[in-house]
C-alpha cells in the first residue's frame, strides 16, 4: 500500500493552523438577524400566559416567536435514520417546559444588545409542577413528564410514558439463574456513571437564509447534515426538497452534534421574516441547552467457578434520558451489547434495561454511546471478581476472552472475523510494566503508585441501517473530485477517504479533491456517528473508485478502438496489458480526461453506496499507573497505555490522535467531569469554571500502540477507532485506586474528596 497506512497530514491542515475563516460563524453574512432564546427558569412547568407585545415593538426587533407560533408536529432531535427509534416528544417550543433551560421564546433582531433588551421585556407566568430529578424515583412519580396525547413512537420500544418510562427491554441467553446457583464466586454491585458534557471547543451555531428559489438553506456545525434536513422538514412542516443543509469545517462534536440543537431557531426566524438569521450558543447555553451523556446506574452480577471460568453475567441498566428521549433506546442498548460479548465464553448472560424521563436536560449522544457506561460497570466488576478469586485480573480476562471465529451471542449473533485483543492485552501489560507494578508500590509514607487495567470493544457503523454513498468524478486535468456526505469534524475523514481513493486510483493524494457536505450536492450519508465513517464511507469509496476505473478503461477502449478487456490502468495511463510497449494502444489519463470533455465526450463519474450487514468491533486494552496521595486523595495519572486493534489504521497519526484524545476525555470523565443539578433542577456546572475538562497540567504520559487485526468487511482491513478509545480510563483508574488503597469507587467521578471520604469510611 502506498498511501493507505501512511501518516499524511490532514488535507485541511494549513487552513486550520493559519486561522482561515472556515467555520460556520466565520461564513455567516453580516446582515443576519441575531437570534436568542428565552429559557425556562423552572424544571417542570406549564406556561399559563405570556406577554410579548412590548418586546416585539422594541427597536431592531424582527420577531418574537412563542409556542403559539410553531408547528404542532412532534419530533425527535436525535440524528438517526428514519424511522428513528427515539420518541417524537419535542416541539420547537412547547407550552410545557421540562427542564431548566427549555426554550420558551425565540427573539430575533438586528443586534445582540437589542435582542437582549427585548428579552427582558417578555413576561411569562408559569404553573410550576414538582420536578422529577432523581432517576431512581422517576418511575411512577406523581409528576408525569410527557402527558401529551401526541407523544409518538415509530415502533415499540417498551415505553410506558404515563409511568415516565421512556423505553425498556432486554434479552437472555442461556439460564443465568442456574449458572449463578452453580457459581463459586459472585460479584453483585451497582455502578453509577454520571452525565457528562461533550464540551467540544466550538459551541452550537447555525445560520439560515432563503436562496434564490426561496428554499431554506441551513449552514450549521453538525455531524448529521442529512438528518438535519429530515428533522427540520418534519419540525417545520415543510418538504425536504425545500431544505438544503451545508456543513462547513466544524470545531468538533463528540456526538453532541449528532443531535439537532441550534438549527431550528434561526430556521423558523428565516421562514417567519424571510431574512437571514444566525444563532451562536455561548458556553453556558452549550452546557444547559443541549444534550449530555446518559447518566446510567448499572447493576452487574458476575458469577464464576473457582478456576475463574465465567458462568453467568447479568447487567441491568437504569438510564436517565432527562426531559426528552434523544438516543434513549439506542444508547442504553450499547451498555450491554458492547460489553457482554467480550466475555462471550460465559455460559449464560442476561441484559435488561429501563430508561426514564426526568426533569433534567435531555441526554443524547456522546462518544462511546452507552458502551462507555457499560464498560465502567462490567470491567469494574471483572476486576472485583479477580480480587475475590485471588487471581491476576489479566489472567481472568485471558481465560474468558472472546476469540476470532466465535459467534457473539450478545452481539446480535454476529461472527467475529477480526480480533487482536489478546495481543493488545499482552502488549499493554509489557508496556506498563505490570509484573513489577501490580498491584502497587509504596513510594513514601503518604504516596503510593498503583496500576489498573480494563478492556473494551465498540462497533463499526450500525449494521443494515447506516448508509454511505460517495461519488467520484474524473476531471479534465486528470484529477478527481470525491463527493462525500460524511462529515469531517476534525477527525480527518476527508483525508482518510482521500487516502483510500488515492490508493484505489493509484494516484497522488493531491489529485483527490474532497468536497463535502452540502445536501444538494453530496451523495447521501447517514453522517459521522456510530464509528462509521472510515469503515462504511471508506468502503463506499473503494467501490466507487473500482467502478470509475472500469469506466476509465472502457472510455480508453473506445478512444483506442480496442477491446477494453485487454487494457489496464496504472493511475497514469491506460495501456495494453499484454504488451506494455504497444504505443498504439496506450493513452495517458490526462489526454483521455481532456478529450472526454470536448464534443462527443463522456463525463466520467461513479457513484457507490455501502451499508454493512455486520458491525465489526474494534478493541482496546487500557492500562494506567496512578500516583495517589493517601492524605488528600489526590490522584494523578502518571502513565496511560492504550493498545488498540482498529484493524488497519488508514492514517496511523490520525488513529493515534483519536486514541490520545479519547483516553484524555476518558480520564476527565473518570476524575473530574460531573454534571450536577441543584434542588430545583438548575444545572450547577454550566461553565468551564465549574465543569472541569482536563488541561495539559492534569496528565502524565499517554502512550499508544496498535495491534492490528485485518477486518475483511472494512476498507483495506480497517475497523473504527473514534469511540472505543474513551471507554477504558474510568474502569482502569477505578481499579488502580482500589489497588492503591483498598477502596472501591463505584460512582464517577473519582475526585480527591470522594476518594478521601471512602478512605476515611474504610478506616
Amino acid at each position: 500500500m502506498r498511501i493507505v497506512n501512511t501518516a499524511v497530514p490532514k488535507v485541511d491542515a494549513m487552513a486550520l493552523v493559519t486561522g482561515k475563516p472556515v467555520y460556520t460563524d466565520d461564513l455567516a453574512p453580516k446582515n443576519c438577524l441575531i437570534v436568542k432564546l428565552l429559557r425556562s427558569p423552572h424544571a417542570f412547568a406549564k406556561i399559563c400566559d405570556m406577554d410579548t407585545a412590548v418586546a416585539a415593538q422594541m427597536p431592531g426587533i424582527a420577531c418574537v416567536i412563542t409556542h403559539r407560533d410553531v408547528p404542532r408536529h412532534r419530533f425527535t432531535m436525535a440524528g438517526q435514520s428514519y424511522p428513528e427509534p427515539s420518541p417524537y416528544d419535542r416541539l420547537i417550543l412547547d407550552q410545557i417546559v421540562r427542564y431548566v433551560g427549555d426554550p420558551v421564546a425565540i427573539v430575533a433582531g438586528t443586534t445582540e444588545k437589542e435582542v437582549e433588551k427585548a428579552m427582558r421585556e417578555i413576561t411569562v407566568s408559569y404553573e410550576v409542577f414538582e420536578p422529577v430529578l432523581d432517576p431512581e424515583k422517576a418511575l411512577d412519580h406523581p409528576s408525569v413528564i410527557h402527558p401529551e396525547k401526541d407523544w409518538h413512537v415509530n415502533f415499540d420500544i417498551g415505553s410506558q410514558v404515563e409511568r415516565n418510562l421512556c423505553c425498556s427491554g432486554g434479552f437472555e441467553s442461556g439460564d443465568t439463574g442456574a449458572e449463578f446457583s452453580a457459581s463459586d464466586v459472585i460479584v453483585d454491585e451497582v455502578y453509577h456513571v454520571k452525565a457528562n458534557s461533550q464540551a467540544m471547543m466550538e459551541t452550537f451555531r447555525t445560520y439560515t437564509y432563503l436562496d434564490h428559489n426561496n428554499r431554506l438553506t441551513i449552514v450549521t456545525s453538525t455531524q448529521i447534515p442529512f438528518h438535519i434536513r429530515q428533522i427540520a422538514a418534519r419540525a417545520l412542516g415543510i418538504p425536504k426538497q425545500n431544505i438544503r443543509v451545508i456543513k462547513p469545517r466544524i470545531g468538533a462534536g463528540f456526538g453532541a452534534k449528532q443531535t439537532l440543537i441550534s438549527e431550528l431557531f434561526p430556521a423558523i426566524v428565516t421562514l417567519t421574516t424571510g431574512k437571514p438569521a444566525k444563532i451562536v450558543f455561548d458556553r453556558t447555553e452549550s452546557f444547559i441547552g443541549s444534550t449530555s451523556r446518559h447518566e446510567m446506574i448499572i447493576r452487574v452480577k458476575v458469577g464464576a467457578d473457582k478456576e475463574g471460568k465465567l458462568l453467568a453475567i447479568h447487567l441491568h441498566t437504569l438510564s436517565n434520558t432527562g426531559a426528552y428521549g434523544e438516543h434513549a433506546p439506542t444508547t442504553v442498548g450499547l451498555s450491554g451489547h458492547k460489553t457482554l460479548p467480550l466475555y462471550n465464553k460465559a455460559k449464560a448472560c442476561k441484559f435488561s434495561y429501563q430508561v426514564v424521563y426526568t426533569n433534567t436536560m435531555s441526554a443524547g449522544a456522546f462518544r462511546g454511546y452507552g458502551a462507555t457506561q457499560g464498560t465502567f460497570a462490567l470491567e469494574s466488576a471483572m476486576n472485583e471478581l479477580a480480587a475475590k478469586l485471588g487471581m491476576d485480573p489479566l489472567t481472568l480476562r485471558l481465560k474468558n476472552l472472546l476469540e476470532e471465529g466465535e459467534i457473539l451471542t450478545a452481539y446480535h449473533g454476529e461472527k467475529l472475523n477480526s480480533c487482536a485483543l489478546e495481543a493488545c492485552i499482552q502488549k499493554g501489560r509489557e508496556m506498563i510494566g505490570w509484573e513489577k507494578k501490580f498491584p502497587c508500590v509504596r513510594i513514601s509514607d503518604t504516596k503510593v503508585r498503583a496500576v489498573g487495567a480494563a478492556i473494551t470493544m465498540q462497533g463499526s457503523s450500525i449494521p443494515n441501517i447506516d448508509m454511505a454513498a460517495v461519488e467520484v468524478r474524473l476531471q479534465d486535468d486528470a484529477y478527481y473530485t470525491l463527493m462525500i456526505g460524511a462529515t469531517d469534524m476534525g477527525t480527518g475523514c476527508d483525508t482518510i477517504l482521500a487516502q483510500i481513493a488515492a490508493e484505489c486510483l493509484e494516484c497522488e493524494l493531491d489529485k483527490i479533491i474532497v468536497s463535502g457536505v452540502d445536501t444538494d450536492h453530496s451523495p447521501y450519508d447517514t453522517g459521522s456517528y456510530a464509528s462509521s465513517t472510515t469503515f462504511l464511507t471508506g468502503m463506499a469509496v473503494v467501490k466507487a473508485c473500482e467502478r470509475l476505473k472500469g469506466k476509465i478503461i472502457r472510455a480508453a477502449g473506445l478512444r483506442l478502438k480496442t477491446d477494453p478487456a485487454a487494457l489496464a490502468f496504472d493511475g497514469r495511463a491506460i495501456f495494453n496489458d499484454n504488451e506494455k510497449d504497444d504505443e498504439k494502444n496506450r493513452i495517458n489519463l490526462d489526454d483521455l480526461a481532456k478529450s472526454l470533455v470536448v464534443g462527443a465526450g463522456h463525463c466520467l463519474s461513479a457513484t457507490a453506496s455501502h451499508s454493512s450487514p455486520v458491525s465489526p468491533p474494534p478493541f482496546m486494552a487500557g492500562f494506567v499507573e496512578i500516583e495517589m496521595d493517601l492524605e488528600t486523595g489526590k490522584t494523578h495519572v502518571i502513565d496511560y497505555v492504550g493498545v488498540v486493534d482498529c484493524g488497519t489504521p488508514i492514517n496511523p497519526n490520525l488513529a493515534r490522535l483519536q486514541t490520545e484524545g479519547g483516553i484524555v476525555q476518558g480520564i476527565g470523565m473518570a476524575l473530574f467531569e460531573d454534571i450536577t443539578y441543584g434542588k430545583t433542577g438548575k444545572m450547577m456546572n454550566n461553565s468551564f469554571m465549574q465543569y472541569k475538562i482536563p488541561s495539559r497540567l492534569d496528565l502524565g504520559e499517554i502512550r499508544v500502540a496498535f495491534q492490528s487485526s485485518y477486518e475483511p468487511a472494512g476498507p483495506f482491513g480497517a475497523k473504527s477507532i473514534g469511540e472505543v478509545v474513551i471507554n477504558t480510563p474510568a474502569p482502569a483508574i477505578a481499579h488502580a485506586i482500589t489497588n492503591a488503597c483498598g477502596i472501591h469507587l463505584r460512582t464517577l467521578p473519582m475526585t480527591a474528596e470522594n476518594i478521601l471520604m471512602k478512605i476515611r469510611e474504610k478506616q
Partner: protein
C-alpha cells in the same frame, strides 16, 4: 467613543461602543481567526498579542487598546504556518478551532522562553484548552518545532 490602534502593522481608527469587547471588535473588522470557546476566560481560544504580550481578547474592552499594537494570527501567518506544519505532521491540528489561540501562545512562548523544559511548556500553555488531541500530539509538535528552530530536526 473613538479609538485608534495598530492591528497587524496597520493603523485603524473606529467609533465604538464603550462596552465593546476586544474579540468582537476584531472579528467585526474581519479578523475571523479569533474564536471564543467560553464565557469565563478558561479556554484560551481568543488569545491575541497586545504590545507583544498574549492576552485574552474576550476579557479586554476594545476601549483599552487605544494607542496599542494588536497582533492576531493573520499578522504572523508565516510563523504560524511554520509551526502549523509541525502540528499537522503529528495530525494534532484536529478540528482546528483552538489552533489560532494556541499557536499565538506557542509563538509568544518561543519569544519569551529559551530552551523551555516540558514542565515550563505545559505551564505556559496551561490556559489553552483542547478537547480533541489530549495534548500529547501538540507536545510532540512543540518539541520538534523548537528543536528544528535550533537546527536539530525537521517536522517529519
Amino acid at each position: 467613543m473613538q479609538i485608534s490602534c495598530d492591528i497587524n502593522g496597520k493603523a485603524y481608527t473606529r467609533h465604538i461602543e464603550p462596552d465593546l469587547v476586544l474579540i468582537d471588535f476584531l472579528r467585526d473588522l474581519g479578523f475571523l481567526s479569533l474564536k471564543q470557546g467560553c464565557d469565563t476566560t478558561n479556554c484560551g481560544l481568543c488569545t491575541v498579542w497586545v504590545d507583544g504580550t498574549p492576552r485574552l481578547s474576550c476579557a479586554m474592552l476594545a476601549a483599552g487598546i487605544q494607542g496599542r499594537q494588536i497582533t492576531t494570527i493573520e499578522g504572523v501567518e508565516k510563523e504560524a504556518a511554520a509551526f502549523g506544519q509541525f502540528l499537522a505532521a503529528q495530525g494534532a491540528d484536529q478540528c482546528g478551532f483552538c489552533s489560532p489561540g494556541f499557536i499565538m501562545n506557542v509563538l509568544a512562548m518561543e519569544r519569551e522562553l529559551t530552551d523551555p523544559s516540558d514542565d515550563q511548556i505545559k505551564h505556559y500553555l496551561a490556559g489553552n484548552l483542547c478537547r480533541c488531541t489530549g495534548y500529547a500530539g501538540q507536545m510532540r509538535a512543540i518539541t520538534l518545532y523548537l528543536g528544528a528552530r535550533k537546527g536539530e530536526l525537521s517536522c517529519e
